[in-house]
Symmetry: C2
Subunit: 242 residues, 2 copies
DNA sequence: TGTACATCAGTGAACGCGCGTTCACTGATGTAC
DNA sequence: TGTACATCAGTGAACGCGCGTTCACTGATGTAC
């Protein structure tokens, strides 16, 4: 039964991360404390090093988990809406991000708040970090196929346009420059709104922040996926990308 | 010369804050260190307590200063543009915030990043916090007087509408619900974009983030101050608010 | 199936470090008559 | 103008605390023949 030790190990590893998450909720993302975790597990502090080589390693694991959880929440929400309803998909995904952020604010802040001082994110965090963004990009791709045009058409700077071309190449998408810029802007707007709600920026100004956020997101969606002024553009026949 | 001691005191107080700011740049906003400050000043650690009653007190002073600096940057930028050119004013103010944030990222993160664990902002920080927002609100007020209507007209939820009414009362502005919501959305979008740039969210995707930000802001401005579809609405005669 | 050996989880003590804050004090700077 | 007193900046020692990490170790769990 080689699996017994392995299973116990996996369980304890998970438990360490769970406790670290709870700690972050109390003390802030930068303040995980190996000794306190060991104490809570009834272990001696050095025992933690059987599971994580260092504090930074544990932090990396938490970041990867958080990115994955956010990405999964986005994917799950996206899957509940018919693929061609791009605006509804965006709304579903945006609200999923909002809910996730409100449910675990410290994990959200671990990803999008102040970087932890002295910590340099290793390669392992890059792939999970793109997971949520990929969901948004897929919606944008479908919107492009439907000929969507943003309500306010941006003028994409040449340097940025070149970057977008590389991005299309890399991701196998076919989103035009204007829509891509509008999409990125909506992305920053979405997370800006979430951050403001989380940090209480609307406190003593707006009481029902959930309602406010909801209307923010609806407005953003209509800005990006506004198709009324769209020139008649035939849908390309290439299949959907990953 | 009662002023000699007072002047030295003011200078040292300022120097403590300056050192604390530099420290934040290295170690993150949450990590100011009284002993290190004293060391750098060539003093004994307890001497700091002649100037600040506690670490939290120093933190409060830094937050107030940061809010004031951001507010002043916004006001200064706003003053460079003729009052009736609302879109240009917004652009100027947005870029001022961006520049300020890029020049002192740690101070920006002190205000808009992860809250410092265990620190509860006292009353003193509230007034300075509104200074920058007030600039935006004044621009919005002028825009309302000119009959501006957002490119995508939001549906303001009833609860939020009530809050907006109270806000109008409190600030002596006359910005309608739709424009107010669009304005707030632009506010979150602006700071979301700044935060993303600061935290390197566009790294290895877009190289010239300044250009990207510039176009973001132009797009946001046109979304808010879009007046083309505006119903003919006579400009009210009441004078400009504070 | 049983035995000899290797693996590995957890122990306990220690290292080196630094923090915020208090307190009784010294000595210089300012104030009032 | 000079003296007696009050104010206050800075000292130095101490308190109590906790952290991440290393290392030699014990003893239980798994493996190979």
């Amino acid at each position: 039964m080689t699996g017994v030790r392995a299973r116990v190990r996996a369980e304890l590893t998970a438990e360490i991360k769970t406790i670290a998450c709870r700690q972050m909720a109390d003390e802030g993302p930068a303040n995980i404390n190996l000794r306190a975790i060991a104490r809570e597990l009834g272990m001696v502090s050095s025992a933690i090093y059987r599971y994580f080589a260092s504090r930074d390693d544990l932090l990396t694991a938490l970041i990867v988990d958080a990115y994955d959880a956010l990405g999964e929440a986005g994917e799950a929400a996206d899957a509940t809406v018919p693929p061609h309803e791009v605006e509804a998909r965006f709304l579903a995904v945006a609200h999923a991000a909002y809910r996730w952020a409100r449910d675990q604010p410290s994990q959200y802040l671990l990803l999008f708040g102040t970087p932890v001082p002295g910590y340099a994110a290793p390669q392992d965090t890059i792939a999970p970090a793109t997971r949520f963004t990929t969901v948004l990009l897929r919606i944008l791709d479908e919107a492009a196929r439907q000929g969507a045009v943003p309500a306010v058409r941006p003028n994409v700077p040449v340097g940025v346009s070149a970057d977008f071309a590389a991005l299309r190449e890399l991701t196998g998408t076919d989103v035009g420059d204007e829509l891509m810029l509008a999409g990125m802007q909506s992305w920053t707007a979405l997370f800006g709104a979430i951050g403001f709600v989380l940090n209480g920026q609307f406190r003593s100004v707006v009481s029902d922040v959930d309602d406010l956020f909801g209307e923010f997101v609806r407005t953003i969606a209509r800005q990006v996926f506004h198709a009324v002024d769209a020139p008649a553009r035939p849908a390309p026949v290439r299949p959907a990308p990953v």
